[in-house]
């Protein structure tokens, strides 16, 4: 599912909104989240997940083409951790029939 498919499906279910409006809403959401992360803040959406910014220390890397050692500077990377509900939803249609400890009805 792409951003535009997401927008199209939301617009379809919300006839009172135009595609352009849904587009603005979706853009606003991701822009706000990006801005918060850029400020070093976390984004927490209970049930869905949380976005945080993790620091990566400087390290000695290697140019894979030349084999030269290069210093990779310290940097920050965005990180997402799925929320409990979403994690469980993703696992519901049991990927493989195993000794069902979680007894999740594996219906498709």
């Amino acid at each position: 599912m792409t951003r535009s498919e997401l927008i199209a499906s939301l617009a379809e279910d919300n006839p009172h909104l135009t595609v352009a409006e849904v587009e603005r809403i979706v853009s606003t959401l991701f822009d706000e989240m990006t801005a918060a992360l850029a400020r070093g803040e976390r984004v927490e959406l209970r049930g869905f997940g949380a976005f945080t910014v993790k620091a990566r220390q400087a390290r000695a890397g290697r140019n894979p083409r030349t084999g030269e050692t290069v210093q990779v500077a310290q940097k920050a990377v965005p990180f997402f951790k799925a929320g409990k509900e979403l994690r469980e939803r993703i696992n519901k249609p049991a990927p493989a029939p195993a000794n069902g400890k979680k007894s999740a009805g594996a219906k498709s």
Binding site: M1, T34, G49, A76, P78, N91
Partner: protein, 102 residues
């Protein structure tokens, strides 16, 4: 540290189009649910400019209870991974004070 939550996102939607706060909150939920639905079906969700959420299948492996040291099988499962877009990676690196590496 500040945290962005549903409250602020609802407010941002509210300020964008002529929806009530209530409708704005519903719409935010709808967006998240729509994404969650796709992921639950095993589809990936690509948000250009932000990143890609995808579902990865993990095989069975032997784990260990760190407290007791007892070996336990970790069953095959599906995990969600998020790959931030270059735009988001850059945004996070251009500014911001941040805490040191853990």
């Amino acid at each position: 540290m500040n945290t962005l939550t549903r409250a602020q996102l609802t407010e941002a939607i509210y300020a964008t189009v002529g929806l009530s706060r209530h409708e704005s909150a519903d719409l935010l939920e709808l967006v998240l649910n729509r994404m969650a639905d796709a992921l639950a079906e095993g589809k990936s969700v690509k948000i250009s400019g932000f990143g890609t959420f995808s579902v990865r299948q993990k095989g069975r492996r032997i784990g260990r209870n760190p407290k007791t040291g007892i070996e336990v099988p970790i069953l095959p499962r599906r995990v969600l991974v998020f790959r931030p877009s270059q735009i988001l990676r850059d945004a996070v690196n251009t500014s911001a004070p941040r805490q040191a590496a853990s």
